[in-house]
């Protein structure tokens, strides 16, 4: 029971701390307006190049953009703890680590979900896409799994971010790589072999593909292999990220490095 409390309350409090620091002026543009424009941008580029269709780009970019809260909110949450010097307290706290960190991940996941769903919904309206209501629930589930998986990546970036000074550069680069490699705008099959390998080992790729199929009317059962792979990737990345944070903690204790904690 305590784990559950730590999970929810710890996570929400930390997130509120982050939100107080972020003003709504930053929040609203970057999480609500910008993804819609990213979708529109690629929809029109697609029309100009004569490839795919609007729905392809809408779903691809809506999910890909959800990586923004996963990466940035996560990094800022962890770095924010470090700056406020509460990270040390968390890392040495007697509470079980996993619920603690997962608790911090939950608001991020919810945030990411909202971003993906909202931008998709709005652009579907603008572009008059045909996404029947029967597909909405399955799409939502696919988005949840995808954002969970991407949060794992966010956790790794956050851990690395503790060592690196320019975390914003790191996160922007990861975002750019996700744009290219996840099939958000270019079908994986069209990419060179080595890029396909990379694509299949990162979050979001399988989720985007599953979302597209589900939007076309496939059932969740039809895409279960994709979803399972996506979920597995998420678990692996989260595990790695968690280990990375512990490693950082251990390293900072060994080196007495003030930088981390």
């Amino acid at each position: 029971m305590t784990s559950l409390r730590i999970f929810f309350i710890g996570g929400i409090t930390a997130y509120r701390g982050l939100i107080n620091w972020l003003s709504p002026w930053i929040f609203v543009p970057s999480l609500i307006v910008v993804p819609i424009f990213q979708i529109l941008l690629f929809v029109f580029i697609g029309r100009s190049a004569g490839v795919q269709n609007d729905e392809f780009f809408a779903i691809g970019n809506a999910v890909q953009y959800a990586s923004v809260p996963c990466l940035f909110a996560m990094t800022n949450a962890i770095a924010g703890e470090r700056n406020q010097q509460t990270l040390a307290y968390i890392l040495v706290s007697p509470s079980p680590r996993l619920p603690l960190f997962l608790g911090r991940a939950l608001p991020v996941i919810l945030n990411a979900m909202f971003v993906a769903a909202f931008s998709l919904a709005v652009t579907a309206l603008i572009l008059r896409l045909d996404i029947p209501p029967s597909t909405w629930a399955p799409i939502a589930i696919v988005i949840v799994i995808s954002t969970f998986s991407c949060t794992g990546l966010g956790l790794i970036c956050a851990a690395v971010g503790l060592r690196v000074r320019e975390t914003a550069v790191l996160n922007n680069v990861i975002f750019g790589l996700l744009l290219i490699f996840t099939g958000a705008n270019v079908p994986i099959e069209e990419l060179p072999g080595w890029m396909q390998t990379v694509a299949n080992s990162i979050p979001l790729t399988h989720g985007i593909q599953a979302a597209r199929e589900v939007a076309q009317g496939a059932s969740l059962a039809d895409v279960d292999r994709l979803l399972a792979t996506e979920f597995l990737i998420g678990v692996v990345y989260t595990f790695v990220g968690y280990q990375a944070l512990r490693f950082m903690e251990h390293w900072s204790r060994k080196r007495a490095s003030i930088q981390i904690a």
């Binding site: 910008v34 697609g46 100009s48 190049a49 490839v51 320019e166």
Partner: protein
């Protein structure tokens, strides 16, 4: 004369200060390349070689806007952090003369971008850009820099008053890419968007650069570009006094 010296010197020093900040230059160069790469793949997939070249030029110019929109807003924020914003306001020169060079410097950083993108397109995607009229091309680029810089100047002025105006700058990145014809011909956009595109200097700059590269007549575009740039400057100068008065009344000059 004095005014030109001030602007010129300001341009030089702000450019120096920005170039030496690795964060600004590195990301400003890399960012449009990501998007350019995706666009190149898409056009490659589409199979139209002319369209690919079209995208190559467009992607190169995207960087100029990225650098400007990212840096114009944050530049004043940086002045705030450095503690120099107050010094600039307290100087006897008109504030707009001091901020205009900032906008110009940011778009000049975009040149790094242009070069990087063209090289990338060439090396990775084999996009060969041929410039039919090199002289006019060489004219079109500074014209674009000046007018885009002037637009950056407008954003920066807004930022003196509203601390969060930089969000406006970064929020405008995608829309400008979309409606100024970098990767998408204006004809593909809904009609009502057209007038908005025409009011934005990057549209004309892009046109001018394209025309110079393909052998069409860019002079009208260059003229329009510069005209718009001048209009931005005039608006900015007129607005500056009111913006500063508000900032001094609300004591928002030194707030971080």
């Amino acid at each position: 004369m004095r005014t030109l010296r001030l602007i010129g010197l300001g341009w030089l020093f702000q450019f120096k200060q920005m170039s030496r900040s690795s964060f600004d230059s590195f990301l400003a160069i890399l960012w449009p390349i990501f998007f350019g790469t995706v666009a190149f793949f898409m056009f490659q997939q589409g199979g139209d070689p002319d369209a690919l070249i079209y995208a190559g030029l467009g992607a190169a110019v995207m960087g100029i806007w990225t650098a400007t929109s990212m840096a114009a807003g944050t530049s004043l924020q940086r002045e705030r952090w450095l503690g120099t914003l107050e010094l600039l306001v307290a100087a006897p020169q008109h504030f707009s003369l001091i901020i205009l060079p900032v906008g110009l410097a940011t778009s000049t950083i975009g040149v790094y971008c242009m070069v990087a993108t063209i090289l990338w397109g060439r090396l990775v995607f084999g996009i060969e850009l041929t410039i039919e009229q090199p002289l006019l091309f060489a004219l079109a680029i500074p014209a674009t820099l000046l007018s885009v810089g002037a637009l950056g100047f407008l954003i920066a002025v807004a930022f003196a008053r509203y601390r969060h105006a930089w969000a406006l700058g970064s929020m405008s990145e995608y829309p400008v890419w979309l409606i100024c014809g970098f990767l998408v011909p204006l004809t593909l956009l809904p009609d009502w968007v057209r007038p908005i595109s025409w009011l934005l200097a990057p549209t004309w700059g892009m046109n001018a650069i394209r025309d110079a590269a393909t052998g069409a007549a860019p002079l009208a575009d260059i003229a329009m570009c510069l005209l718009l740039g001048a209009a931005y400057v005039v608006i900015g100068v007129l607005v500056t006094d009111r913006v500063l008065h508000a900032a001094r009344a609300r004591a928002s000059l030194s707030l971080t």
